[in-house]
C-alpha cells in the first residue's frame, strides 16, 4: 500500500497562483491559509512565459520567492512544470509548436493545451524546463510531488503529427500490408502502397459530422490515431518525468486527469504516473453515484492505490451554462466522498480568484472580496479544522471490493465511432446503470481496466464489451471456469482491437456465453419492447438482440413484436462459474433486481443498504482496520442504526452496535470500526 506522498494527514490546499498579484497580497494569502488550515499548495501551473524569456534566458527569481514564502509558512508544495501552455514568444518564433485542429486549421497563439505533442521544439523546451525546475528546487523538503503540465487534452492533426503517426504505424505493423489488413483497406479501394499514403483522420479526410456526432469512415484508422495521440502525449509526460527523476528520484510525479474524459486513454498515463491525481467538477444535476463512479474509475487506474483529489471548487464553477452555488455542507460532503473513495487529499482550484480572463468567476478559497467572514471561507476553515483532527488514519487505505465493472477507453472509441446500429448506444450511461445498483446498496464495486487481474473478484460485469482485445476472451473464460460470475450485454464481442469483426456475435465470447446473436433491432428513440421474469415486466430498449442459445439457459424472452418469445436474457454454466448475457438496454428496476441477484449468487453481502440517500464506504488501512464513511446525501436529516461498534474518527465518541445516529442534511461521519 503506502502513501502517495510525504505528508502525514489528508493534504488540504490547492492551486495557488501568486504570480497574478503583487507581493503585498502574498502575506495576506498566508494569513488566510493559516486561518483555514491549508497545508499544501500547487505552484507554478502556468508560468512558462515568465520562467523562460527566450531560447536562452530563464528567470526563476519570482518563483524562488514564492517557494521560499510557502516553505517558510510550512506549506507542502506540489510543484507544477508549467508546460500546459507555451509562451507567446515561442509560438511566434516556432509556429510548429501550434496545433492544427480537427478541421485542418492551423491555430495561432491562444488558450492552453495548445502545444503540438509531436513538436520537437515543444518536447525539447518542456523537458528542459522540467529538468531546470527539478534541479533548482531538488533540496526543498516541502516539495512532496511534481505536477507535470496540466489537464492534458485535445489533439493535433499537423504535418509533424502526420509524420509521427507514420513512424508509429511502422513500429506497430512493420509493413504497409499489415496496416491495410488491420484497417480493412480493401474496402472502398483504400489500399495503401506506402506509409507516405497515410494521412491523419480528420474532417478533411475520413471524418464528417452526422446527427450531431463525429463520424468516421474508417473506424480502425481513427482508433489507431487516438492510440497514437494518447501515446504522443504520454511521451511528452514521460520526457518531463524522466528529467525530473534525474534530480529528485524520490519525489513522486503525477499529472491531473479528468475522470471519464474520453479523448485520451488514461490507462496508458496511469502506467507512467507514480500516483493518480484528478480534478472533480460535477455539474449540479449529477447524482452521488455519478460522482462516485468517477472516483472509482480514477482509483482503478492504479488498481486501487489511493489518489489525490487535485482540484475541486470550494463553491462554484464558471464554465457551466448555469453555475449554481454548492449548497451549505455540500463542499464538505463532496470532499469526504472523495476521501471515502480513495483520495488522500482535499484540494481546490483555486486559492485566490483571478481578476481577469476566463476563470475569474470560478470559486476560490479567497474570493474577489478578499474576506474571511463569508459562508464559503467559514466552511473551508471548519473542514480544515476537522482534517487536522482526522490525522493520518485514512492515508493509503484501500477498498475491499469483490465486484468490479470493466471500463475501457478503446472500447468506448469503438462504440462511439461505430456507424450503426444506433446512436442511442451510450457506453458510459450503460456502465453507470450497473454501477448505480452497487452504489445505492452500498456494495463496494471497483472500476477496472481490461488488463486487470480478474481473479481478485467474485463478480465482474462488462456492459457493452464491444471490443474484445488480445487474449481477453480467453482470460474471461478462465475467470469464469474457475468460479467467477460474469455478465455482459448487447453489442458485445463484435470486434478485436482493430475494430474488425470476428464472426458471429458475440465473437470471442460466444463459447463463454453459450449463445449467438442472429440479428439486433435498433429501436428508434422512444420505442420500447419488454420482457418478463419472475412475474415482473421490464423495459427493453435501444438495441434488441435476437438470441439463439447454444448451451445457455434462457432467463427471459421478448414480449412483443415479431420476435416475441425470442430469448434476450441468458445464463451459461461454464466450468465452475456462470456467464450472463443481457441482450438489450433496460430500466432501473431491472438493473436493480439483476445486480442484486448476481451479488447474492456471488455471496456478496450488503450492509446499510436500506437508507435512501445514505452512502456508506469503507477503506482499510495497512493493518487491516476499517474506516467507515457515512455520507447523508439528503437535504434532510437521516437516522442510521449502526451495524457494529465504532468510534467517531474526528471527535473520538464511541458508538455501540445497534445505536442510532442522526445525520444533519448533507452531513458526514467517519468511524473507526472497533474489532
Amino acid at each position: 500500500m503506502g502513501k502517495i506522498w510525504n505528508h502525514n494527514k489528508i493534504a488540504y490546499g490547492g492551486d495557488y497562483n501568486p504570480e497574478q498579484w503583487p507581493e503585498e497580497v502574498w502575506e495576506e494569502d498566508m494569513r488566510c491559509f493559516k486561518l483555514a488550515g491549508i497545508d499544501i499548495v500547487t505552484l507554478n501551473v502556468f508560468s512558462w512565459a515568465s520562467l523562460q524569456k527566450d531560447d536562452e534566458v530563464y528567470d526563476f527569481e519570482r518563483l524562488d520567492k514564492i517557494i521560499k514564502l510557502c516553505t517558510e509558512n510550512d506549506l507542502k508544495i506540489c510543484l507544477a512544470t508549467s508546460t500546459g501552455a507555451h509562451p507567446a514568444w515561442m509560438a511566434r518564433k516556432y509556429p510548429e509548436i501550434l496545433r492544427t485542429d480537427f478541421d485542418g486549421r492551423k491555430h495561432k497563439f491562444g488558450g492552453r493545451h495548445n502545444s503540438c505533442p509531436n513538436s520537437p521544439v515543444y518536447r525539447r523546451y518542456s523537458s528542459l524546463l522540467a529538468y531546470k525546475l527539478s534541479e533548482r528546487y531538488k533540496d526543498n523538503k516541502n516539495i512532496i510531488a511534481w505536477h507535470v503540465s496540466n489537464e492534458y487534452g485535445g489533439d493535433c492533426y499537423c504535418e509533424n503529427c502526420e509524420k509521427a503517426f507514420r513512424v508509429w504505424l511502422k513500429d506497430r505493423y512493420k509493413t504497409i500490408d499489415e496496416v491495410n489488413k488491420a484497417w480493412n483497406m480493401s474496402f472502398w479501394g483504400h489500399t495503401l502502397y506506402d506509409f507516405d499514403d497515410v494521412v491523419a483522420p480528420s474532417n478533411i479526410s475520413e471524418h464528417f459530422p452526422l446527427f450531431g456526432r463525429d463520424r468516421t469512415q474508417f473506424q480502425s484508422i481513427s482508433i489507431d490515431y487516438r492510440r497514437f495521440m494518447t501515446e504522443s502525449i504520454v511521451d511528452c509526460y514521460k520526457l518531463e518525468r524522466d528529467e525530473i527523476r534525474k534530480n529528485t528520484p524520490d519525489i513522486p510525479v503525477t499529472t491531473n486527469l479528468m475522470g471519464f474524459y474520453p479523448v485520451l486513454d488514461y490507462r496508458k498515463f496511469a502506467k507512467e504516473m507514480e500516483f493518480i491525481s484528478w480534478d472533480n467538477y460535477p455539474s449540479p444535476h449529477e447524482t452521488p453515484a455519478e460522482i462516485a463512479i468517477c472516483h472509482e474509475l480514477m482509483k482503478g487506474l492504479k488498481s486501487g492505490q489511493s489518489f489525490c483529489l487535485m482540484e475541486q471548487t470550494p463553491s462554484v464553477t464558471n464554465w457551466q451554462p448555469f453555475n449554481k452555488l454548492k449548497r451549505p455542507n455540500e463542499m464538505r460532503l463532496l470532499s469526504y466522498q472523495a476521501v471515502a473513495h480513495g483520495s488522500d487529499s482535499v484540494m481546490f482550484f483555486q486559492m485566490r480568484r483571478s481578476i481577469g480572463a476566463c476563470e475569474k468567476y470560478h470559486g476560490a478559497v479567497i474570493d474577489h472580496a478578499g474576506r474571511t467572514d463569508t459562508r464559503v471561507f467559514r466552511e473551508i476553515t471548519a473542514l480544515g479544522d476537522e482534517l487536522k483532527k482526522l490525522g493520518d488514519i485514512t492515508l493509503g487505505a484501500r477498498s475491499k471490493a469483490r465486484a468490479a465493472i470493466i471500463y475501457d477507453w478503446e472500447n468506448r472509441w469503438g462504440i462511439e465511432y461505430s456507424a450503426g446500429p444506433s446512436i442511442l448506444i451510450d457506453y458510459r450511461r450503460e456502465v453507470t446503470n450497473y454501477y448505480e445498483v452497487f452504489h445505492k446498496n452500498n456494495i463496494a464495486c471497483d472500476l477496472i481496466g481490461p488488463d486487470e487481474d480478474f481473479s481478485k473478484y467474485d463478480l465482474i460485469i462488462a456492459p457493452i464489451l464491444y471490443m474484445v482485445k488480445g487474449d481477453m476472451g480467453e482470460r474471461l473464460e478462465k475467470y469464469v471456469a474457475e468460479g467467477g460470475v460474469f455478465a455482459t450485454t448487447y453489442f458485445s464481442g463484435y470486434v478485436e482491437e482493430h475494430d474488425l469483426v470476428t464472426g458471429a456475435y458475440p465473437g470471442k465470447l460466444k463459447d463463454l456465453l453459450g449463445i449467438w446473436v442472429e440479428e439486433s433491432d435498433a429501436l428508434p428513440e422512444g420505442e420500447k419492447n419488454s420482457f418478463t421474469r419472475d412475474g415482473k415486466t421490464y423495459e427493453a430498449s435501444i438495441l434488441l438482440d435476437l438470441i439463439h442459445t447454444e448451451g445457455a439457459e434462457v432467463l427471459s424472452s421478448y414480449n412483443e413484436d415479431f420476435y416475441a418469445g425470442t430469448p434476450m436474457f441468458t445464463v451459461n454454466s461454464f466450468g465452475k462459474g456462470k456467464a450472463y448475457y443481457i441482450g438489450c438496454s433496460s430500466d432501473k428496476e431491472f438493473y436493480k433486481d439483476f445486480v442484486l441477484e448476481l451479488c447474492e449468487k456471488a455471496d456478496i453481502s450488503k450492509e446499510l443498504s436500506n437508507y435512501e440517500g445514505l452512502e456508506a464506504v469503507s477503506r482499510y488501512n495497512d493493518s487491516g482496520s476499517e474506516i467507515l464513511f457515512l455520507l447523508n446525501h439528503n437535504k434532510s436529516e437521516l437516522t442510521v442504526k449502526l451495524h457494529a461498534d465504532m468510534t467517531d474518527a474526528i471527535n473520538k465518541t464511541e458508538y455501540k452496535k445497534g445505536q442510532e445516529v442522526t445525520f444533519g442534511p448533507r452531513d458526514v461521519m467517519i468511524f473507526s470500526i472497533n474489532e
Copy 2:
C-alpha cells in the same frame, strides 16, 4: 419498349466484393448464391487501388479470377469501373485530384466520391481504366451491363473547378455582360468586368448558413454552379461510357442514382444512360407512397422505361440514426413494390458483410455469422425461388398513367436557395402531398420532367412550379388549350431559368391561370388560416396568396384575417381545358378531395381504391397484356375482391372476377389479367 439488358428473368443478386476476403471464402459464397437463387453480381465497385498500382502498372489478375469464378457459376455480371474512389497513391502524387469543400478546405485522401470532377488527372485515369476494363472483358458473355463509378455525388470548389466554371459560362453566355444580366449583377454592385472575376459560390464567397439552411446572396450564380457541377460530373460519366462503347457497343451502360438526391440534376444523367438504375434505402418511417414516388421519379427519368433496382438492403442499414430491422416479409414486399413500379431487377447491397470500416453493420445476403439458417437468408432464398417461377413476364413492361406530376431539380434549387418568403416551403413535401392521393387510390401517376411530352397525359399537376423555364409556359398553355387539365400552386411562375422575376406572379402562367397574385402572407410555423368549399373547411398554411382573378372562376376564399373573402383557389377555362390554382399549402383532406375531383374531371377511373393499405399497380408488356401487383402494406391480413379474371403469375392458380383473395401481413400477389 425492350428489356434493359440481356437477361431472361428478374435479375436477382447484388454488390459482391470478394476482394475483401481470401479466396477460400469465394467457394462458400458460390454455394450460398446457388442456394438463394442468386443469378447476378455487381463486381469491381471499389477496386481502383488494386487494379492500378501507379501511373503505368495495372494488375487485373485477381479480377480475372473473380470474373472467371462468377462466369463458371453462371452468374450474370454487372461490371463496375471502380472509379467512385481514387487510389491513395494518386491523391499523394496528384493532389489536384482531391476536392475542395464548400468551406474552402482542400481535402486529403479519404472517403469516396472524393475526386474533383474537373481534375484532368482524374478524367484521364478514370476513362483509361474504363477503356482497359472493357477491352479486357469484352468477350465475356455474362457481362450484361456496365456500372460506371458509384452513387455520383457531392461537389467541388477548387481552382480547377473555378476555371472550368468560367469556361462553362463563356460557352453559355458568350460575354461577361450577358452573365451580368443573367445574374442581375447590378444588384449590390456585383458587376463583373472579366470572366476572371467569377469565383465559385461557397461559404467563403456568396453563401452563409442561416436558420440551419444554406443561404446564398446570388441565387442565379448558385443555380448556375449546380448546373455546371452536374454537367462536370455527367462529363466524367460520359468519358468513361464512351471508352466502354469503343469495346462493347452492345452492352448497356448505367450508373446508380439515389432517388430525390438534391445535389445533382438527374435528368442530365438520364439522357446519357442506357437505362436507369438506383439504390432504394427508405428509412423506417417512410410510407409506401413515399417509397413509390421515388420509383416513379426514377422511372420517369427515361419516360417510363423499366429500370434496375441496383441496391437495397436485405435486412438493415447502418448509416441511419436507428437502424431498425426489416420486418418479416418486408424485404419481399419492398422488392415487389420496386418491380411493380418498373424494376427489372431485385438487387442487394451487399452479398457479404465487410468485417471492417463504415459499412460493416450494413445488412448482407451473407452475414458476419456466415450462416444460411437465418431468417434473412431464408427470406432471400424464398424470394429467389419465386422470381425463377415468375420468369420474364414483367421484363420491359410499362405503366399506362394518364396523370402526371412534374418534378424538376432546378426548380427545387430555386425554391431552396430563395431568400424568402418562408423557410417552410418544401417542394418535395408538396409534390408528395399530391402524389399520395394517387397512390392511396391506386391511380397510376407518373413523375415527369419539365421537358416531357405533356400531350400524353389528361391531367398534370405541378406543385410549386416556381421556375418556368424556356418555352414551358407556352407548352403548358398548348397542353391545356388542347383539353388538358392542369393544376399548380402558390409560389409558382415567379422566375425564369436564371431566377429572374418575370413580372406579376404567376408570371408566364398568368394567362393560363387567369389570375394575378398581389401579395403572399408567410405564416409563422404553427399559424393557420382556412378556406371552405362545398361545406368542408380546409387548412391554409405556409404561404397564403392573395389573388385577383382575371378571367378565372373563384373556387374558394380565405375565411380569416384581413384578407378574409380574398380568393385563394381558382379554375380557369383555357381553350378546351382547365387550369387550377391553389394559393396555399393545405391538409390531407383537401389534397384528397381536390385530386379525386380532378381525376373525375379528367375521366380517370380508379380500381381497388377502397382497401386501406393495399397498393395495386399494373405493368403492361409489349403485347399489351396486363400484370397486376397487389401489395398488402398492412401488418395484418387483408381480403380483396378481384375486379377481373386473372391468373396468379407465380403458381398459375386462376381466379374469377368477384372472387375474394386473402393476403397475409405484408403479402404480395402478382397476377396476369385474363382478357
Copy 3:
C-alpha cells in the same frame, strides 16, 4: 435643436436603384413617386463597380442621368457613396481588400460588407470615390445628405488587421507590460514580450463555440479587439466624410445604423455623424415597446437630436424565416411611431423590387407587378398625402424625458463574453424589461450612454451595469448625491473597462449602493426563487445575489432555499438621492410596481396610462409647443378621453379637454396641444 437637413417636411421616400433597370422604366418610376407623394430618394448605394472600372477609369454618366432625372422631378436626394461593397475587379487585383473571417478563412469576392477596414487599398479608393462624388455633385441643391457606405457591419481577422491592432494597442497602452496588465496575461502564462506576440482573438486563437455561444478565453483581448474593430470602421467612415466635407461642408453626412446591432459600438459612430439614421426592421413578434426602445436608443446616440428613419419595408421583409405581411395600417402605424420617437423622415427600402438576387422578395413601393392599384401602394399614397398636410411642425422637435435607462455596447460585450455565471443573463432583455414599464405607462424615457450628462434626469436605471468604466462610479455618486434616483441590478459593478474585477461586487458602486454581494446563485433554466414586498410575491430568477447591507435599507429578501431571509432588494440614501439595488431578474409585475414607484418618488407623472395598447408620445419643437402622437396598437377600436385641448395636426379639427376620440384598429392621430 435644428433640423437634420434641408427639407421642409417629413422626408418621404427611400432607396432607389434605377441602375438595375433600363431607362424606360425610370419615367414610370417618376410617375409612381409623384402619385405616392414621394419627395426624397437615396441614390447610389451599391454602384461602385459601375462608377470605377479600374484603377484609373471612372464613369459617372449613368449617375449623372439619374441625378438629373430626380432633380428635375423635384426629389430631394440622399446621396450614397457606394462603398458598402467593393468592385469585383478590385478584389481580383488586390486580394488584401477581402476579409478573413472569424474562423481564419480568407474570403473570395462576394456579398457586401466585404472590405477589410484596414486595407490600404480599400481606404484609398473608398475615400477617393467619396471625394469624386462630392466634387462632381456639389452644386446640386437637391442633395440634402450624404449616406456613407451602408449598414457597416462585420469584422475582419486578416494580417493587415492584426498589424493595425498592434499599432492601436501601442497607441493606447504604450508598452507591452501595460497590455499584459490590462489583459491579466499572467493568467495561463500568456505574458507577451513584444507587440508582435499579439494575434487577433478568433476561433483559431482565444475563442471557441460553447453552448451555442461564442466564448473567449481572454475577455479583455476580445473586448479590445471589438473596440479596435469599431474604430477601424469608424475611421473608414471618417476618411470618406472628410473628403466630402472638402467639397460640400454644409451638407450633413450620415451612415445608416441598425438599432441594437451588437458588433459595433455605435456611440463611437455617433460622435462622427452629423445626424443619426437607421433602418427599422422589426420581426412580426416584436412588441411596440421593443420597437420603441430601438428608436430611443438611436435617438439617444446624439442626445435626443431628431434622426432619419432611413429604411423600413412598406410591406414585407425577405430575410426572416417567415416573412409575414404588414397588416393594413401597420406601415402607417410604424411610420408614425418612428416620427413620434424622433424621426424626421419616413423612408423605405426599396422603391422598386429587384428582379434578381437575395432581396428580390423584399417589399417595395413598386412591386414586381408594377401596379399602383395594390393595397400597399394605396397605403403608401395615403400616407404621402397626410405627410404633406402635416408639414414641418415636428421637424427637429425633441422629447422631454426626465427618466433614462443606460445602455452601453461595451458593457454588453463584457456580459456576453463572460465565462459564467449564467448563459441566461441577457442584457438587452433586462434593459427592455425596465423600459417596457415606461412605455406601457406612456412615460417618456431616454436611452442614454454612459457618458451622458446624468444631471438632466431625475431617474436613471442601469440594468446589469457590469462594467463601470473610468470615472463613471464617481459621476453616478455625484448624480445621486445631488438628488437623483438611481437603480441598478445583479451582475453590476464587477469590472472596469479592461474587464478586470475591482474587488467585492458591486465594486465602484459599493458605497453608492451601501451593500456588498457575497455570493450569486445561478439558477438553471426553469428554476425559480421568490421574494415578497408589501404582500406581493415576485419571481427571482437567472442570477440571485446574496447581499450584505452596509448602510442600505432592505426592501425585500428571498423566500426560499438556504438563503431564505437573505436580502436581495435594497435602497441606500446617498446625499440627497436614493440608490436601489435589485439582486436578481424578476417578473413583469415586479418591474411594473418598482418602476412606477420610482417614478412616483421622482415625481414623474404619467398621462394617458390607462389605455391598453395606446402609445402616447410627445415631441416639443423649438418654440416649446407640444405635438402629441397617439398610436392605437390594438387590432380593435379604442376610445380615448383627451387630457387637454388640442388640434388634429393633419385635418386641423379642434378637440376639447375631456372630449372622447375613437381610434380605428392600428390608427394614429397627431395633435398640437393648445396652450
